[in-house]
């Protein structure tokens, strides 16, 4: 995209302040042109303010929110070009991460709409024993693959398209985990395709539809689960990495409640990180659904019921 290239070259030539000055009109432009995103941002703020009246948001929040998104786009591109130095990253949970890698048990790492988890690519290059499989949407996957071909450790990062997860994909992911590697999944994306099941969870004071997909996959892969957040804190990037649970040994009849508990915990931690980085919630699509009953029961109910038996409303 031409605009992004121009912005990137402004950053590279002149530095951060001129970049931010140039970003302001760009953000205003996008602010005017994207009523849907503007509404989503407003709704987020409204719910945030109502839930956390003691945590004031700055003035002109929506515009700042858009600007923060512009900054994060720049960060993403820079991270992919290897321009984010390790010295800029403050890994606040270094010990937990080290233990997770060295345990050789592998795991699923859930990532979110908060901040910019692509920055952690830089972290992965700092450890030769870190092997990742990233699940991504098709069009992103192609771009990433092209960039990763130039990376110095081919094979360390494997990109898998999520449009259609079949038994072959599950096998590939399981192999990664059995080898002590990690599978990275965006856990708060919209359900993909028609088969997405969602569960309604309390988020910033109102029910929002969270997709179940990542949690089902985690359940089948039988491994520890972690949450990864990477967000900008001034000029540095804070990395948070925390254990969420473990799907080993979950019995079939416990699956529904296990998924419910994990999702609930995930939503709570997500909210916690929203309070820490309020303007780095980069989900500009309507998230709080008026009708959370979007769960689709296109699978035959047959052998066992996997429909959520009870939704965790408010």
């Amino acid at each position: 995209m031409l605009g992004m290239k121009i912005m990137l070259s402004i950053y590279r030539r002149f530095g951060e302040l001129p970049f931010l000055i140039a970003l302001a009109p760009v953000s205003v432009y996008y602010w005017c042109r994207n009523p849907l995103a503007r509404r989503a941002s407003k709704e987020y703020q409204r719910r945030f303010r109502a839930t956390y009246p003691d945590k004031p948001l700055p003035r002109l929040t929506t515009l700042r929110h858009f600007m923060a998104f512009g900054v994060t786009m720049l960060d993403k591109v820079r991270a992919l070009h290897g321009e984010v130095a390790l010295s800029q990253i403050d890994n606040l949970d270094r010990e937990t991460m080290r233990e997770a890698i060295e345990s050789k048990q592998g795991g699923v790492i859930l990532v979110t709409h908060i901040g910019n988890h692509e920055i952690c690519q830089a972290l992965s290059s700092s450890r030769d024993d870190l092997r990742l499989s990233l699940l991504m949407h098709t069009h992103h996957a192609q771009k990433f693959n092209a960039l990763l071909k130039e990376s110095r450790r081919p094979g360390a990062v494997d990109i898998i398209e999520v449009t259609d997860i079949g038994p072959d994909t599950a096998q590939r992911l399981k192999e990664r985990i059995d080898g002590g590697g990690f599978v990275v999944i965006a856990a708060d994306r919209e359900p993909i395709g028609e088969q997405g099941r969602a569960r309604s969870l309390n988020f910033l004071g109102a029910p929002a539809a969270f997709p179940e997909g990542a949690f089902w996959l985690t359940l089948l892969l039988r491994c520890p689960v972690y949450l990864l957040i990477c967000a900008r804190d001034g000029k540095t990037f804070n990395v948070h990495f925390e254990p969420l649970g473990d799907s080993r040994g979950v019995k079939r009849r416990e699956r529904d409640s296990w998924i419910g508990e994990q999702m609930q915990q995930f939503a709570q931690r997500l909210e916690h990180y929203c309070t820490r980085y309020p303007l780095q919630w980069f989900n500009f699509y309507p998230f709080w659904s008026e009708a959370p009953e979007r769960q689709k029961a296109q699978q035959s109910p047959g052998v066992c019921s996997k429909q959520p038996s009870e939704n965790a409303h408010g």
Binding site: D164, I165, G166, P167, D168, T169, A170, Q171, K174, E175, Q195, W216, L217, L220, K251, R252, R253, Q299, S300, P301, G302, V303, C304, K306
Partner: protein, 91 residues
């Protein structure tokens, strides 16, 4: 369901399916070799398919290809699964 006798491998696979998916009140002889496993037949769903794929990998070392249509055919019935295992097993 049907009483068509199962081959030893089909019987073994029926047991694997029942154990893996913790199917209650189902015995191998309840599953007819040609009956559909997914949808109407045994009533398995797409998550069961993922789990079954992992079980085949663990037990027989079978690696499925990235071909949804092919995989659907392999997973259609006990007898198609048996054919897959016979040709592709490594352990």
């Amino acid at each position: 369901m049907a009483n068509t006798p199962l081959t030893p491998l089909e019987h073994e696979l029926a047991t694997l399916i029942i154990d893996t998916l913790e199917l209650e009140d189902v015995t191998p002889s309840d599953i007819a070799p040609k009956a559909p496993l997914f949808g109407e037949g045994l009533g398995l769903d797409s998550i069961d398919a993922l789990e079954l794929g992992l079980a085949l990998q663990k037990r027989y070392g079978i690696k499925l290809d990235n071909d949804a249509e092919d995989n659907r055919e392999h997973f259609a019935s006990l007898s198609s699964l048996a054919a897959l295992v016979e040709t592709r097993r490594v352990s």
